[in-house]
């Protein structure tokens, strides 16, 4: 039932390049893809390492601490699913391992700033889908 009521975009949870990320989020873990040859981290997932062009990879847990590279505040909903959440904040966050994630920032809007410290939180949006969000640390 929840699925039918959820009218915001849901990522392709079975996308071969990203399925492990969504499965980990479901368990409250933040992950990034690591090349088994050169150990470079990448996100979103890719079928080959853009650093060394080797295909082997594994998903590893990474730091849930990060800081805001930049952020925006949506005052208009371009998708009807977000209309009830205006105004909402989306940020690009760089975590302590140097991986960048785009995601929602929850908490007092007045305190959101470039450089602000944040930590990952895991919001169960549907019985299958958990969204990684960021709260001000």
């Amino acid at each position: 039932m929840t699925d039918q009521l959820y009218n915001k975009p849901i990522p392709k949870l079975d996308d071969p390049d990203m399925a492990p990320f969504w499965a980990a989020a479901r368990e409250g873990r933040l992950t990034a893809q690591r090349c088994t040859s050169c150990a470079a981290l990448r996100f979103p997932g890719l079928p080959i390492c853009p650093t060394c062009l080797e295909r082997g990879s594994e998903w590893i847990d990474v730091s849930t601490e990060g800081s805001i590279w930049s952020y925006v505040v949506y005052h208009r909903a371009f998708h009807p699913g977000f209309a009830g959440e205006l105004p909402y904040v989306v940020a690009i966050v760089e975590n302590a391992d140097g991986v960048r994630y785009t995601g929602r920032v929850v908490g007092r809007r007045e305190d959101v700033a470039v450089g602000a410290k944040v930590r990952a939180v895991f919001a169960d949006e549907t019985p299958e889908f958990t969204l990684v969000k960021w709260e001000l640390a």
Partner: protein, 379 residues
Amino acid sequence: MATDIDTDIRGKVAIVGVGHTPQGELPGQSPELNSVLAIKEALKDAGIGREKLDGLITCKSVQGTNTDVMVGPLLGLNPRYAQTLDYGTCNFSLHLAVQAILTGMATTVALCYGANARSIRFPFGASSPTLAGASGLMHIAGPAAMALQRHKAMYGTTDEQFGMIAVSEREWAQQNPIALFREPMSMEQYLAMPYMVEPLRRADVTMLSDGGVSLIVTRADLAADYPNKPVYVLGMSEQTGIRGEYTPDYLNREFLRGAADQIWRNTGLTTGDIDVLYIQNPTAVWVLQMLEYYGFAPPGEVGPWLAEGHTRPGGDRPLNTNGGQLSESYMWGWLHMVEAVRQLRGQAGQRQVTGAEIAMYCSTQVWLKGGASILSTHN
């Protein structure tokens, strides 16, 4: 022994015709029809029939149509050379035409763009099935606002400084009969507008419109046969950032410096030589960034520079004298090039910049590619 490749393109190719459809809402007209209607106007301007064309370079519409093979049937032509670019912005299209002409693959090429995004209500709210999309990051305004917020935090750029881009374009648009947004907009009115995607307001982002635009380009040694003053390509450059979000600060679009360095080096010109400047702008953020990367404003100081009013009518750095995409029309920058040609020919009416002899046009495909062209009536 290897011979050097001839990289001197200066003055070898000329724009000899420009044309466009009315702008705004053109219900029932496909991108391909708008392209062909624009080509008809450009051919008329060039004083030739379509049989003179042996090349066609189309630019896709936002929904991915308007390819060469879709325009061909309506144009009634099987030219020797045809090609399609994803996001030509007229700059990449012109560069391809120069390459085709200088290598002998074509002699006289029509470039075109067609859009019906307004009348079909193209859904920009559609989001990709990604973490970013699920988080509500959508519409070009999102990433653009992200870059602006970063600029504000790094350099102290204010809303009022940034707003000068939209205010200045509106002032120019008031002198352009084809501009869609001509009602006055003062800085006070701008600042009183609510944010759309903060820190961007509605006026900082282009509004969808329908229409078509076309240019006719040919070999410089043939250009004297055409009725209008030929506008020669003095230089061109491109630089990509096609790794996209895998380049950490990709929204800052630092790769644009590569396009800037090349065109200044290749032409031997400097910013001081440019009489009229055009910067493609689905959002005003593109103008903010390109003014800095191409060297028209000091790095990090474009805010205070804008506030000094250089870009406004009467200023010493006339910018987007057509009103740009914020006030003239959507058209992916194609009308910027048309305006550059009109200014150089001395056909810009009330908004004519006195003594405009060298024009520059800078454009990008979002945060993935950048290109620039320098044009002049002198070769």
